[in-house]
C-alpha cells in the first residue's frame, strides 16, 4: 500500500528547496548549479547506505531480502547516510576541479531546508509526538494532546538554515558553514530525541550517535574558528 504521509513528505522535501532556490540561487558564482542536480545522487546513495546500515545492525539476514530493503519506514541510520552523501559530493567536486568545501557549503542551506521540512512533516506521518501537553496537537484516535517534538525540531533546523544563509552572505568561510550545519542538526537531533517516544528506557542508538556527532562537530567547529581567529590576529 502507498504510504500517503511519507509520499507527501518526500514531495515537499524536494519541492521546498527547489522553490527556495528560485528565490535565492544557491551559488552566485555558479548560477547554473541546481540543488536537485547536485544533491539527488548523493541523497539516494545516502538513503540506501542508511537503510543497509540499519538492517546490518538490527536484522543482518534481511540485507539479502530486497523487499525488506525498500521498507524505509522501518529505520534508516541517519549519520552513516549523511557521511556517504557528504563524501560523494566532496569527491564529485574534487573530480570536477571544484573546492569540495565550497560545493558542500553551497548545498548546506537547501539540504537543511529539506531535512527540516522532512521533520516538520512528521505530523502527517504520525511519528513525532512527544510528551502529553494541553498545548500540543491531538492526533486522530489519541486520548490526549501531545507536543509535536519532530515538528519543533524541523522548525529549529529551518531557523538554523536561515542563520547559516546570513553567515554565507556575510562571507563566512565554507568549512565553518559546513561544520556549523553539522553541529546544528546533530544538536537538534540529540536534544529532540530526549522527548521523542521510544521503546525501552535507555537512549536509543540514533540518540547516542547524534550526541557523538554533535560533540565531534562542535569541537571541530570550535577548532576551525579558533585557528581562523589566530590567523586574523597574525595578519593584523
Amino acid at each position: 500500500m502507498i504510504d500517503i504521509g511519507l509520499m507527501v513528505s518526500m514531495v515537499l522535501v524536494v519541492a521546498v528547496p527547489v522553490f527556495y532556490e528560485r528565490l535565492r540561487p544557491i551559488s552566485r558564482a555558479e548560477p547554473s548549479l541546481r540543488f536537485v542536480d547536485a544533491a539527488t545522487g548523493a541523497a539516494v546513495a545516502g538513503l540506501v547506505t542508511g537503510r543497509l546500515a540499519a538492517l546490518a545492525l538490527d536484522d543482518p539476514p534481511s540485507i539479502l531480502r530486497f523487499p525488506d530493503l525498500l521498507i524505509i519506514r522501518s529505520g534508516v541510520e541517519f549519520w552513516p547516510g549523511v557521511l556517504v552523501a557528504v563524501v560523494l559530493v566532496a569527491v564529485g567536486a574534487h573530480r570536477g576541479a571544484v573546492d569540495p568545501w565550497w560545493r558542500l557549503g553551497t548545498l548546506v542551506v537547501p539540504s537543511m531546508l529539506a531535512y527540516g521540512i522532512y521533520d516538520v512533516t512528521c505530523v502527517i506521518r504520525g511519528g513525532c509526538y512527544g510528551p502529553a501537553s494541553e498545548l500540543g496537537l491531538r492526533p486522530a484516535g489519541a486520548s490526549s494532546a501531545m507536543v509535536p517534538v519532530g515538528l519543533l525540531m524541523g522548525l529549529v533546523v529551518i531557523f538554523g538554515a536561515r542563520l547559516l544563509r546570513r553567515m554565507i552572505d556575510r562571507g563566512t568561510e565554507w568549512p565553518t558553514i559546513c561544520l556549523g550545519a553539522l553541529a546544528v542538526v546533530a544538536v537538534v537531533r540529540a536534544i529532540g530525541s530526549i522527548w521523542l517516544p521510544r521503546l525501552g528506557d535507555g537512549f536509543t542508538r540514533p540518540h547516542w550517535t547524534s550526541i557523538a556527532v554533535a560533540v565531534v562537530a562542535c569541537i571541530a567547529l570550535g577548532t576551525v574558528m579558533s585557528i581562523r581567529h589566530r590567523q586574523d590576529e597574525v595578519e593584523r
Binding site: G5, L12, L23, I71, R125, G127, R138, P139, L199
Partner: protein
Amino acid sequence: MAARKRSAVVTAARWLGLVAAAFIALVVLNVTASGPDLPDFRASGDPAELPVTGTLPIVELPQFEAMIVGARGRPIIVNVWGSWCAPCRAEMPLLQDAFETYGDRVVFLGVAGNDSRDGAQRFLRDLDVTYANTIDESGSILRALEVDAFPTTFVFDAEGTLVIKVEGGVSEQRLAGLLDDAVR
C-alpha cells in the same frame, strides 16, 4: 533587470506561500480527521484466555471477540500480519520489543491472515516472537476488522473500544507514541 529580479522573487515567494498553505491544510486535516475509518466492531460474548505463547491456534471471529472481552481492563494491541508480507517482517521485532517493555500494562495479540499455519509458525519462530498469536484461516476476523492492508495494527482502549487503526508498518516512534498514549 531589477524589475525582473523582483518579479522572480515575488513569484518564488508566492510558491513558497502556496506550499506553506498546502502543508498547514494537510496538518489540520491530519490532526482533526479520524484517520483510516474505524470498523463498526465491538467485541461481545464470554471472556476467553489468550493463546499460550508458542501456539498458533486457528481462531474464528467469536473466539477472537471472546479474547478481546477477556483482556478488558488493559489496552489491547492487535496486529494483523502475514509471513509473506515484508513490512510485517520488518515490524515484528518492534512489536516484540514493545511487548517486552509494555507487556505488563498492555495486551498484545497477533492475528496471522491469508497465511498457512506452517509458514506463520516458522515466521514466529524465526523472529523469536513470544506474545500471543492466532491464525485466521477463514478470514472472518479480517472481514470484521475491515483489514485492507498488511500489516494493520489496532489499538483498543481498556474498555475494549477500538480507538485507532494504523494501516501499514509502524515506526518505533509511532508505536511507542501509541503505547504511551494507551497507558496514559
